[in-house]
Every structure is written in structure tokens, then in C-alpha cells.
Point group: C2
Chain length 336, copies 2
């Protein structure tokens, strides 16, 4: 186990890399901790949850809603949770988003930590303190930015991860490479999903590299005034199509990246649109989708990143270097 501590503006976060779920006991006092997880994970890792007070949720993004929050709060009250209670979210991004949000509002805030169980959550969703729930078709419309106390990384949990979840994780890994790490981009080009799945040390190193990329960006700009927006590369369109077209987050981001990369080519003369498209295909992610232009545009217009008549869009100058560009809504509509 390797520990690293990062000081965010309101909270220090302890990272436990190359750790094991069983280390949780020494991090979160069992008597004062309530674990939040989902039915799949609870069934798949029944033994691990023994001895922990656990709230088990239905799995899936469709339950990342206020109704679930209401139900968890009721259960917390029934379990006698108080201000000394620590919540630990064990799961993918839906579980860490819900746990972080509930931890931020229950009793006006209690301590919480995460054990991300999906590749996506390990390299992205569990990092940086953003939490929240969806409101209708609008993703993460409600939430806070509030850091967890800790992140515990156990790559062993990936053993039972479905193929589609591996791809979701790689969508964000490719994103990190595209906006921040040209060397990792080359590494991804020369490797494959299979190779990472078979090689635990490689995947552990990849997780750590990506966790640190995201952490560094968030440390520079926790409340998303500047640099943190770069992490939205591919996400603006993704948020508009994901729910409407029943895509996984990774699929939506992959399509969003191809769209933003094409826009980069058109507006900035970005020269590696094909390379990016190819690496996305290489990790079994989609690169296009036929969608209802007006419907998608209507959701785009309600995006959190919108300001009056233009949108802050993330474009690529080159592999490893992204910029924020204000794009008029009209231009965006035409390009769709």
C-alpha cells in the first residue's frame, strides 16, 4: 500500500494506492461507519461487507436521483447516524456521487470516504469532490463540490468488472491522455484493453497515473473556474446524449470526444483527429451516433457550462493540450 495526502481547499484527502478492501477497517472506525453500496456489489463481495453496517441501493444511473437520496436519509436516521458517523461509498461513480452528496447534506455534512470499484470511478468519478444527482434528463443538475476524507484503491475489485465497465474507464483514460498526457496517449496506442485486463501491475500503474492527472488538475482549480473545465473534454455533448439515447457514460464520452475533436480540427486546425478516433475504436468504444439534432441541442442549452448565448467548449490544440473556447450556440447547432 502506498499513501499520498493532497490538501484541497477545505479538506485533506488521503489516497491509499495498491491497497486492499480489508485495509478499510484501519481507516474507517467500523462502529461509526455506514457503508453505502449497490445490490450487485453486495452480492459479488458478500464476505467483504461482513461486520459493516451497510445500506444497499439498486444499481444504475437511473437511481442517481432525489428519491434514492430520500431513502438513504431515512435509513441513516433509522440506523441512528449522527455527526460522528462516517459514510463510505463502495461502488462505481453512481455510488460515490450519491455518497458524497448525501455526506455533504446529511446533518449539514458528515465525513465520507470512497472505495471505488469500477475503473471509471478509480480514475475519474471518485476524485475531485464533485458529487450530485440527476434531475430528469439533466445529469448532475444538483450536487456540491466537497472532498472525501479518503480514497482506497483495490485493483482486485476489478476482477469481476464487466467488459463494458472496462471500456467506460478507458474513455476517461483516453480523455486524460488527450488533454494532458501525450506520452500516455502513445502508450495507449501501443497497448490494448486485453493486455491491461491481464496485467495487474500495469493496470495499477495506469490507475495511479490517471488518478494523479485528475487530482493535479483539481488541486489547481477545485471550483472549476479554469483548468478543471478541461476535464469536460467530450462531456458537453456526452451529457446531452447519454440519458436520451441510453448510452453508457464511456460510450457517450467517446462520441463526445470524437465530436469535439472534429470541431477542433475545423476551428483550430487540430491535426490528430484520426489518431484520437482510432484509439477510441481500439478500446472498443463507439465513435458516432445518429441523433435528433434539435432534441440534443435543447438539452445542450440547459448544460451547466452554458452562459447566455454561448458555451464553453473544450477543444484540442494537439494531443496532450486542450483549451477552453467560447462557442456561440448557433455555431454549435450548425455543427451538430
Amino acid at each position: 500500500m502506498q499513501t499520498k495526502k493532497f490538501d484541497f481547499s477545505r479538506q485533506s484527502v488521503q489516497y491509499y494506492f495498491d491497497a486492499s478492501f480489508s485495509d478499510l477497517k484501519s481507516i474507517a472506525p467500523q462502529a461509526k461507519t455506514i457503508v453505502i453500496t449497490d445490490e450487485h456489489l453486495f452480492a459479488a463481495h458478500a464476505k467483504k461487507f461482513k461486520g459493516w453496517k451497510t445500506i444497499v441501493l439498486k444499481p444504475g444511473e437511473q437511481f442517481k436521483t432525489q428519491a434514492t437520496v430520500d431513502s438513504v436519509i431515512e435509513q441513516l436516521i433509522n440506523l441512528g447516524a449522527d455527526r460522528q458517523t462516517m459514510l463510505v461509498g463502495v461502488g462505481g461513480g453512481v455510488i460515490t456521487d450519491l455518497t458524497g452528496y448525501i455526506g455533504s447534506i446529511f446533518l449539514r455534512g458528515v465525513a465520507f470516504g470512497f472505495v471505488p470499484t469500477s475503473l471509471l470511478a478509480m480514475v475519474d468519478a471518485s476524485i475531485g469532490g464533485k458529487n450530485g444527482i440527476d434531475v430528469g434528463v439533466y445529469k448532475n443538475m444538483v450536487g456540491t463540490i466537497n472532498q472525501p476524507r479518503f480514497l482506497l484503491y483495490d485493483a482486485g475489485l476489478l476482477k469481476s468488472l464487466p467488459e463494458t465497465e472496462w471500456r467506460n474507464g478507458f474513455a476517461e483514460i483516453i480523455k486524460h491522455a488527450a488533454i494532458k498526457d501525450a506520452a500516455m496517449f502513445k502508450q495507449l496506442e501501443s497497448a490494448s484493453l486485453k493486455r491491461f485486463q491481464k496485467n495487474k501491475p500495469d493496470v495499477q500503474a495506469l490507475i495511479k497515473r490517471n488518478a494523479l492527472i485528475k487530482t493535479k488538475v483539481v488541486l489547481n482549480d477545485e471550483f472549476e473556474k479554469n483548468e478543471r473545465r478541461l476535464l469536460n473534454f467530450g462531456h458537453t455533448l456526452a451529457h446531452a446524449i447519454e440519458t436520451q439515447y441510453g448510452l453508457t457514460h464511456g460510450e457517450a464520452v467517446a462520441i463526445g470526444m470524437v465530436f469535439a475533436s472534429g470541431l477542433s480540427e475545423e476551428l483550430l486546425g487540430f491535426r490528430h483527429h484520426n489518431r484520437l478516433t482510432k484509439v477510441i475504436e481500439q478500446y472498443s468504444l463507439p465513435t458516432e451516433l445518429s441523433f435528433d439534432r434539435q432534441k440534443v441541442f435543447d438539452v445542450l442549452r440547459s448544460d451547466k457550462k452554458k452562459e447566455a448565448d454561448f458555451m464553453n467548449f473544450i477543444l484540442l490544440e494537439k494531443i496532450g493540450k486542450a483549451i477552453i473556447q467560447k462557442i456561440p450556440l448557433n455555431t454549435l447547432f450548425n455543427y451538430l
Copy 2:
């Protein structure tokens, strides 16, 4: 108008004392502002709201719930609110609590400010960044601590304030005197509700004095680790009886203060239990209530201030000096 700026840990708050509602235009840009108020205020001050985008809620603590939050968020989406939107809560504590909470979670946080319209909101509820909603019988079970950008004080708004609301305000004013300001306590003893109601400069001075007492306590301890707890004097019991017995907040706090004062006499030899009881009566507030001991205790046990088997209770050593005392739940039950 007199302005004062206080720097809280995450946010500076501008106080506009002796101001007028019409000053709001120069503080909150009308085009980017959405006002949140209730039906009573909207009807009573129709002219003032002209030109402001306004969300009008049903009045009363029974609407300080998640259902109202859901409805406001839907309206914000429909109004095209974005991250540059500022919410302004114009109302009593229910409206400022809701506005602060929604401002803290909508789009992971937007700017918000308050125009408190009740005496209680002016001297207490709108100050200090605590916001939230009730969950069933549990008051403020969910919320955040997040400061507004500004507080605008217009004592003219008190003209239409119902008598019972004046009393609610004085419950908190008496509390401030009891825990922090012996001189103000004497002033209250020698004055009366009527005299303050008739004299605008006196009430303005009283509002400012009380706003500054609370502000100073919160500045010292924004996240309620120590000193801020003193402001809970009278409130632990109050929260347990208010909803169950259909009391106003002021009535519940008054009864809670008498209870805590009696406990102070018993446990600390506090010598002014009678003086405190008398001044509470003088401002037309109740000093006792017959309640179901077990039922009240059950709610008390779920209070946010509870830690395992004891409660942090606020007691008085003397007028103007309060302390935090850990009291075993058993002792508390017996004294009820």
C-alpha cells in the same frame, strides 16, 4: 444605508444595514437574478417585486421540505437559470433556509443573497450560512453551511409583520442577551415589545446589535465545533417540540430556554432563572408546555447535537455567559 463586510472562511458577506428594498437593484443585477419569496410577501409587497423574475412558494415551515426544493429546481431549469444566476431569498427563515440550500446545491452551487423580512430572520435565521430543510419531524436534518453574498436589512418590511412574528424575533433576541450580552438583557427588561414596534430607530439599532452578536459568534466558529453551539441555547428541546406540538419557533425556543435555564439552576447553580422567565413572559412568549415525555425524548435522541449516549446541552452560568455541557441522555430523560 450602512455597509459592513465580514470575511467568512469561504465567502465574504456584505451587510447592508438601514437599507431599503429598492437598493436591491444596485446589489443584484436584475437580468441575472431570480427572487424566491412566498405568497404572503408577494401579495403584501406586490409593487416591490415588479421587474424581478420571481418564484413564489407557499408560506410556512410545513413547506420547508424536499418537495418544495424539487419544485423550485424545476422552475429554475424552466427559467433558464445558469451558473451566473443569483438567487435572492426575500422572506423569513423558511425562505432564506430554502434559498440558501437551493443556492448551495443547484448546479453544484450558485450565488445567493437574502432580504430577511421577519424580525427572526433579520436577527438570526438569515445570518451564518446554515440552511436546510426538514425531514418528517426532524428539523433541518438536511442542509449545508454556506454563506450568502449579502444581507439587505430593510426595517420598513416589519410594518406588516404579524404580532406572533414579532414575538418569534424576540425569542432569539432574548437568547442572544442571555448567552452573550448582559447589558442588552437589562435593556430588554426595561423595555417592551410595544415600545420597539413603535420606534423604528430603536428597532433598527436592536436588529444591528443582534445581527452583529450572531455574526461574531459564527465568524469565530463557522462550522460549529465550539462557540457556535452556544446559539443552540433553548433550541435542543425546541426542535423536539416545535413540529410535534404545532408551536411557532419563538414559542418553542422560549419554552426550551426556560427548560435549559431550570437545568442550569439545578446543575450549575444559575441564579437568574426567574429573571429569564420573567423577561420571556414580558415579550408575550410562553414559558411552559405539557408534553408527552417519551415522544419528545425519542425526537431529542435523534437531534444532530447528539453523540452516542449523551447530548451537548447549552446551559447558563450567568446572564450573558453560556457554556456547553455534556449531559447523559438518562439525566435528560429524568429531568423532562
